[in-house]
Amino acid sequence: MSEDAVLVASSLSVHLGKRLVLSDISLTLPGRRLVALVGPNGAGKTTLLRALAGLLPSEGRIEICGDALSSLSLRERARRFAYLPQGHQVHWPLPARDVVALGRYPHGAYDPGRLSGHDADAVARAMQMADVLNLSDRRVTELSGGERSRVALARVLAVEAPVLLADEPTASLDPRYQIEVLIKLRATADNGTLVIVVTHDLGLAARFADTVLVMSEGRLVSQGPPAGALSEAVMAEVFRIRTYRADHEHEIVLVPWAEA
C-alpha cells in the first residue's frame, strides 16, 4: 500500500435489506487525484460514495488519512469527507453565502452570522474558487441551475476536507456549465484534494479524470487511467455500447456512438 494513500477501502460490501448492493470492493486512492466513478444506472455508484463517507452502514474496512473510518465520530468524518448529494436541493430561500457557510459546520461554525476569521476565510476562498462571490446575497432558490450548482460546489469546497465526493454534479447542466464544474473540480484536485465524481458523461470522465472506476452490478469491474479503464471491451460488456475514440492534443476523446 502506498504511503500517500488518502482513502483505502478493503472488501467493502453493503446490504440494503437482504439485497447485496455493493460487493467486495477494494480500492486505494492517493490525494491530488480526480477520480471519475462511472457505471450504468443501478450499478451502485451512489451507494459506494455514501459508504465511503460512512453515511450508510457497510461491511469491510475503510481508512481515511490513515485512520479507520469506524473509529471516527460523525463530526470527524464530516471534516474529512465533503459530500455533495445529487440535485443541489435547498429547501428554504437562504442567501447563497449562508449555504456556503454550512460547509464550516463540521468545524464548529454553527452560525453563519458569526464566523471566526478562519472560517470566514475558508468561505471566501470557496466562493472565489466556485466563482459565486457576486451571488453572496442572492437567495439560492432564485438562482439559475448553473449558478445553484456553483453555490453547491462552493459549499463542499468550504469544508476543505481531504476528500471531496460529488454525486452527479453536472446532471441537468448545459454543456458550458458541465465543463466549468469539471474544471473547478480538476483545480481542486490539483490543489491536493482527492476528488471522486459520479458521472454518466463518459466523455467528460475521459477528458478530465486521472483515474476512472467502472462499476457494474455492485462490483468494481475496471479501474485505472481513462484510456485503459474505459476500454472498448468494458464499454461493450458494462455499458453495451460502442464508442468513437480519437486523440485531440494528446487527450483522449471518447464519444458513446452506437449500441453494442
Partner: protein, 341 residues
C-alpha cells in the same frame, strides 16, 4: 476576508420590538377586567406597593393568566418553527400534526378514569406522553418523505383519531358535569388560572423550550436535506427524536393547563419570515416571541369583545388561524400538487 452579515441588524431590531410588544401587551392584560387598572397602579402592585385589593387583583388573578399567555404562546410559536424546520415545510405545526388534540386526549382520559384531578402533575405527564406518541407516529408514517400532502393527511388522521377518542371518553363518562367541564376545557382558555397552574406547566414548557433551543443550529443544516445534514456531522435521527421530545414536553405542558389552543404555531413563523428571513434556526426565538404576542393579544381580545358569555381563547385562535391556513394552502398549492417545493 470577513463576510459581513447585513441582515443581523434588522433581526436585532425585530427581536427588540417583539420584546417591547410582549411587555406592552402584558401591561394591557394586567389592566383590563371588571376593575380597570392604570399602568402606574399595575407597576406599583407588581413591586409590592399600592392597595391590597389592587395587589391581589394584579398578582393573584391577572398575573398568572398573563404569564401563561406568554409561556404558552411562546412554546406554541417555538414548536411551530422547530417542526417547520425539521420537516422543511412551511405548513407544519403542532396543531396540524394532531399534537394538542392527542395531548388533550391523554389528559381527558386521566380525568375520566378518575386517576387525577385538574391540579395533578400526572395531567401534564399524560398529555406529554400522548403528544409524543402522536408526533412520533406521524413522523414514522411520513418516513423520509416530507411531502406536504403526506404530512397533512397523516396529521389530519391523527387529530381525528385523538378527537374521536376524546369524544368517546366523554361519552362514556359516568358524570355528565365532568363531561361538560372537560368539553369547555378542551376549547382552550386561560381564564381563572392561578400560580398553581403556572407551577404545573412551566417546568415542562421550560424543558421543552430548552430541548428545542439546544438543537437550533442543526435545523439550518436540514435545509440541504437529510443526507447532506448527515454528511455535515448532524445525527439526523437523534435530531428528530429531540425535536419530537421538545415539542411534546412543551405542548403537553401547555395543553394540561390551557386546553387546546391551535394555529399559533403555524402563524407565528410565517409572520416572521418576511422580517427575519427563511433560516429555520434564526426563526426560533422571534417565532416564540410572536407566539407570546399573539396569545396575549387573543386573550385580551376575548375579554374585550362584548358577548353574553365568555369566548374561549382557543376558539378565537382557531377562527383566525384556519382562514390563514387556507390562505397558505392556496399560496403553496403548486408545492402541494407536486411534492416538495
Amino acid at each position: 476576508m470577513v463576510i459581513a452579515h447585513p441582515a443581523g441588524r434588522q433581526r436585532m431590531i425585530v427581536t427588540l420590538a417583539l420584546c417591547a410588544g410582549v411587555a406592552a401587551l402584558t401591561l394591557v392584560s394586567l389592566g383590563i377586567g371588571p376593575v380597570a387598572l392604570s399602568p402606574t397602579t399595575i407597576l406599583h402592585a407588581l413591586f409590592g406597593g399600592g392597595g391590597d385589593v389592587q395587589r391581589i387583583i394584579v398578582l393573584e388573578i391577572r398575573l398568572p393568566r398573563a404569564i401563561l399567555a406568554i409561556v404558552i404562546g411562546g412554546i406554541l410559536g417555538l414548536s411551530g418553527a422547530a417542526l417547520q424546520g425539521l420537516v422543511r415545510n412551511p405548513l407544519a405545526s403542532p396543531s396540524l400534526f394532531g399534537a394538542p388534540q392527542a395531548a388533550a386526549f391523554g389528559a381527558v382520559l386521566l380525568i375520566a378514569l378518575g386517576w387525577a384531578d385538574i391540579h395533578s402533575f400526572a395531567l401534564p405527564v399524560a398529555a406529554i406522553l400522548a403528544a409524543f406518541t402522536s408526533v412520533f407516529v406521524l413522523l414514522v408514517i411520513a418516513g423520509r418523505d416530507t411531502s406536504l400532502l403526506i404530512l397533512i393527511l397523516a396529521g389530519l388522521a391523527i387529530s381525528a383519531l385523538a378527537g374521536a377518542a376524546t369524544s368517546l371518553t366523554m361519552n362514556l363518562s359516568s358524570n355528565p358535569f365532568a363531561a361538560l367541564e372537560i368539553a369547555f376545557w378542551l376549547l382552550g382558555s386561560l381564564e381563572d388560572r392561578s400560580f398553581r397552574h403556572v407551577a404545573l406547566a412551566l417546568p415542562f414548557i421550560a424543558a421543552g423550550a430548552a430541548t428545542l433551543m439546544s438543537q437550533r443550529h442543526a435545523f439550518r443544516t436540514l435545509s440541504l436535506g437529510e443526507e447532506a445534514a448527515l454528511s455535515l456531522g448532524v445525527n439526523v435521527g437523534r435530531l428528530r427524536l429531540w425535536t419530537i421530545l421538545g415539542v411534546a414536553l412543551g405542548i403537553g405542558g401547555a395543553v394540561a393547563v390551557s386546553g387546546a389552543i391551535g394555529f399559533i404555531g403555524l402563524v407565528a413563523p410565517h409572520l416572521m419570515r418576511p422580517l427575519i428571513g427563511y433560516d429555520p434556526s434564526r426563526l426560533l426565538v422571534p417565532s416564540a416571541l410572536t407566539g407570546a404576542v399573539l396569545l396575549l393579544a387573543a386573550d385580551i381580545a376575548v375579554r374585550v369583545i362584548p358577548s353574553t358569555s365568555d369566548i374561549k381563547v382557543g376558539v378565537l385562535t382557531a377562527l383566525i388561524g384556519v382562514p390563514f391556513f387556507l390562505y397558505l394552502i392556496v399560496r403553496e398549492r403548486r408545492a402541494l400538487g407536486g411534492g416538495v417545493a
